[in-house]
């Protein structure tokens, strides 16, 4: 297991002069999990994007270190996985094509089709792997997002509303992912769902500010 540490220091974010949140600090290391809670619109999803490096904070820093080396923002995508309602898969491609696309753009050479199918099987959508994603239900799309986020075995996995749109079987698969991630890396869950919160060791509440 690699030793990953995530350190968020005094993070704040404004959009067009509107303050979303301010002064959020926490840290998390491999083998731990953290829940980000807060009412609707408080900035949980925004914080999730900042932690994944796809959004720049207005002030403060979020740094992921692997074995003591800080990861630069340009390389962060190699170590981070995000499942979020804001992530969309390519509708015109099939499920397995979306995964092949993800590994080819990421430059992962060690994954073959058999392994991709195993991942799809894990989320119960292997039988629909050759269908265009546009024909998937919202729950199936959510399952495919999990498969895509786990392809590169990220040290930091950020789940925004992890069980939304999922049926019981899907929720069980996701909870299995959460259990394994908090053993092998860092798990961040942005949710208010009490059942999901049980998988977090600690909790950070994003208050949200309105000026």
């Amino acid at each position: 297991m690699t030793n990953a540490v995530l350190k968020a220091d005094q993070l704040s974010k404004d959009f067009n002069r509107r303050k979303i949140f301010s002064a959020i600090s926490f840290d998390a290391a491999s083998g731990s999990s953290l829940a980000v809670t807060g009412r609707n619109g408080s900035g949980k999803s925004t914080l999730a994007k900042i932690l994944c490096g796809v959004l720049t904070p207005t002030s403060g820093t979020a740094v992921l270190s692997i074995d003591g080396n800080a990861i630069s923002p340009e390389r962060l995508h190699r170590h981070v996985g995000l499942v979020s309602p804001y992530v969309q898969m390519y509708d015109e491609f099939t499920g397995i094509e979306n995964l092949r696309l993800a590994i080819s753009i990421r430059g992962i050479v060690r994954k073959n089709d058999r392994q991709l199918r195993d991942l799809l099987q894990q989320f119960g959508i292997d039988d629909r792997r050759n269908d265009d994603v546009r024909t998937y239900s919202s729950g199936m799309k959510q399952r495919l997002k999990y498969a895509a986020a786990l392809l590169h075995e990220p040290e930091l996995l950020v789940l925004d509303e992890p069980t939304s749109n999922l049926d019981e079987q899907g929720i069980a698969a996701v909870r299995d992912v959460m259990s394994r991630q908090k053993e092998s890396g860092i798990l961040i869950i942005a949710t208010n769902d009490r059942d999901d919160l049980r998988y977090a060791d600690r909790q950070v509440t994003v208050e949200g500010e309105h000026t």
């Binding site: 959004l55 995508h77 979020s84 390519y90 015109e92 753009i105």
Partner: protein, 222 residues
């Protein structure tokens, strides 16, 4: 690693384009309609080579405006921007999109130029070398400018209007140069006479790409 990733982004765009025809249908329809209207309006009238050169580049400019923005706008509309941000670094996305737009623009502009030479009988190219080099260098310049502009306007609410409005002042030096070089081609000027124009076109493309590489990180992330 970055180049490999950029190539895969390009491949993804090519496959996506063949399945959705986001850009291709708009571009081809525009070219057919524009060429038909010009042929009908010229009729038997006598038009100077300078004006005909200008009309050719008007078609090329607006056909580019009707389709080239799709590379980024389609990602924004489908909500796949975040997916791409999570897959690779910004420079790989920019390079992949630039390559896609470059190949699309060169292919389309070669098609437009061939159709224009064949259908507009008064447009006689007396220096083919100048003409085809102008088409190729002009296409590269248009693709370079169109790519970064598409990335910028994809975030805006009024994408359709903003694109040609922003593109016109940025592409004006390029358009004036290619129109002049095309006029030289119709007048049968020796290749060396157009060397100055070619230098401007190469310099324009290099500068736009260099500025785009610096800007793209800021444009790509909110």
């Amino acid at each position: 690693m970055m180049m490999r990733s950029a190539y895969e982004v390009f491949r993804k765009d090519v496959h996506s384009e063949f399945r959705t025809r986001y850009a291709m249908n708009a571009l081809i329809m525009f070219v057919i309609v524009a060429l038909s209207i010009i042929l009908f309006s010229i009729g038997d009238e006598s038009v100077t080579p300078g004006v005909l050169s200008g009309i050719l580049w008007v078609i090329i400019f607006f056909s580019g405006m009707s389709g080239l923005s799709r590379s980024f706008v389609s990602e924004e509309e489908r909500g796949t921007v975040l997916t791409l941000q999570l897959l690779t670094e910004p420079s790989a996305v920019y390079a992949g999109k630039l390559l896609f737009n470059l190949i699309l623009t060169v292919s389309l502009n070669l098609f437009i130029a061939v159709m224009y030479v064949l259908l507009v009988q008064q447009f006689v190219v007396q220096s083919p070398a100048i003409f085809w080099v102008t088409i190729l260098l002009g296409s590269a310049g248009i693709a370079a400018a169109a790519t970064i502009l598409a990335a910028i306007i994809a975030k805006a609410n009024t994408k359709g209007t903003l694109y040609p409005v922003l593109a016109f002042p940025i592409m004006l030096p390029l358009l004036l140069t290619v129109m002049n070089a095309t006029r030289l081609a119709t007048e049968g000027a020796p290749f060396s006479e157009a060397a100055g124009e070619f230098q401007v076109l190469v310099a324009y493309t290099v500068v736009v790409i260099a500025v785009s590489v610096i800007l793209f990180d800021f444009v790509w992330k909110d």
